[in-house]
């Protein structure tokens, strides 16, 4: 069944059961997002960028974790929405190593796109939380333990899309979140055995990463 909803005074139709963020994106209404993929059964809602205000609800909510309802009225660009988005974005950037000019993601990078949309720079307002060695040497870390991929922990935004796509493609995820808090990284631990790898036949994680934090070794 199709439901009618109102987004920023624009009438759109969305299928029952659909996720609000996806409904907006499908109708050409952009809401910043990093950790969402189409048809994800359980949204992780971890990037905190996709906030909207829904009439009748006191506080802005992450649109990826809301299911559309008939007659819903949604605002995507109120001052409090933007304030939340900008802080979330700057928190993300506080552990992100910026080097756009030489970055493989340059020009197709989601962070650049979001910065432009939110009209903010890529320099975090918060103190940088990068490892000391990175700040001192001005060089980011590289995890080269995997035989085919390189992983760049100081570029990764921990959106989890690589884990999700791996799991949906292969039934199990060959990569994982490891450690915790400020030290959290993506790890391929134990999957370094080339004979067991889909290897360069499957580049799902490389292709989905919004910031090219996983790259093919042969290309870097």
């Amino acid at each position: 069944m199709m439901l009618n909803i109102l987004i920023d005074d624009k009438k759109i139709e969305a299928e029952e059961g659909k996720n609000l963020l996806q409904a907006c994106l499908d109708n050409g209404i952009y809401i910043p997002n990093l950790c969402h993929v189409k048809d994800m059964a359980h949204p992780q809602a971890s990037c905190r960028l996709c906030f909207v205000e829904i009439e009748g609800e006191k506080k802005p909510v992450p649109s990826c974790s809301v299911t559309v309802r008939e007659g819903m009225r949604v605002k995507t660009d109120t001052p409090s929405v933007r304030r939340l988005q900008r802080s979330a974005f700057h928190l993300l950037l506080s552990r992100h190593f910026i080097e756009c000019k030489v970055c493989p993601a340059n020009r197709k990078c989601e962070l650049q796109k979001i910065a432009k949309f939110l009209k903010v720079g890529l320099k975090s307002n918060y103190p940088l939380l990068l490892p000391k060695a990175v700040l001192e040497t001005g060089k980011q870390e590289t995890d080269e333990s995997h035989p085919i991929f390189n992983y760049y922990p100081n570029r990764c935004v921990l959106c989890g899309l690589c884990i999700h796509v791996c799991r949906t493609t292969h039934g199990i995820a060959l990569l994982t979140f490891a450690k915790r808090g400020i030290d959290t990284v993506i790890s391929f631990y134990g999957e370094e055995d080339v004979s067991r790898l889909p290897g360069d036949k499957c580049l799902a994680c490389v292709n989905i990463c919004p910031v090219s934090a996983i790259t093919l070794k042969s290309l870097s």
Binding site: A173, L174, L175, T176, A178, R180, S187, F188, G190, E191
Partner: protein, 176 residues
């Protein structure tokens, strides 16, 4: 000979771990209890043990690793003969415990959580060890060193190395 002895001892430990792991019911909820058991037996989680656990519970190896690294209690390197524990409790943190940690890391050329190749030293950070008045505090083995300063690090390590050399020399003399 000595090398072979170490190898066979290692094999015996691995066999023991395998049979203990096999005794656990194949339920995901057993993951942490199994890891705790291994750490208790071996003082750390060797890669072989992580593989054994993954195979037993039929989950990816990286998932076991992901869960294990989430908790501070698990180690991935064998502890050194002289484990260095640097206090990062509130009082020690305020008194720049991180500078002390960094000094140990630099002098031993390993990072926190690692062990020197000769297995003499390992470094870890710990929460308040209960003598905040002495902050910043570091432990080497069971000995508490209070009012630590970056300049003291070198001397402490040197003393342990000298003592070891002396003991070795005496051993050689005793054998003669």
């Amino acid at each position: 000979m000595a090398h072979e002895e170490i190898l066979s001892e290692q094999e015996a430990i691995e066999k023991d771990i395998r049979s203990r792991v096999a005794a656990f019911e194949k339920a995901r909820g057993n993951l942490i209890p199994i890891l705790q058991m291994i750490q208790e037996k071996q003082a750390y989680l060797p890669p072989e043990a992580i593989n054994t656990v993954a195979a037993h519970l039929e989950i990816p190896v990286c998932e076991v690793y992901g869960v294990a690294t989430f908790y501070n209690q698990f180690r991935f390197h064998p502890p050194g003969r002289h484990p260095v524990k640097v206090c990062m409790g509130t009082a020690c943190h305020v008194k720049a415990g991180d500078v002390i940690l960094e000094n140990f890391e630099r002098k031993l050329e390993i990072r926190e959580g690692q062990t020197t190749p000769d297995r003499e030293f390992s470094i870890e950070r710990v929460a308040c060890v209960g003598c905040c008045a002495l902050a910043p505090v570091a432990l080497i083995g069971d000995t508490v060193h209070g009012h630590m300063a970056p300049s003291k690090v070198e001397g402490l390590l040197l003393r342990i190395r000298i003592e070891k050399e002396k003991a070795e020399r005496e051993k050689v003399r005793g054998e003669r």
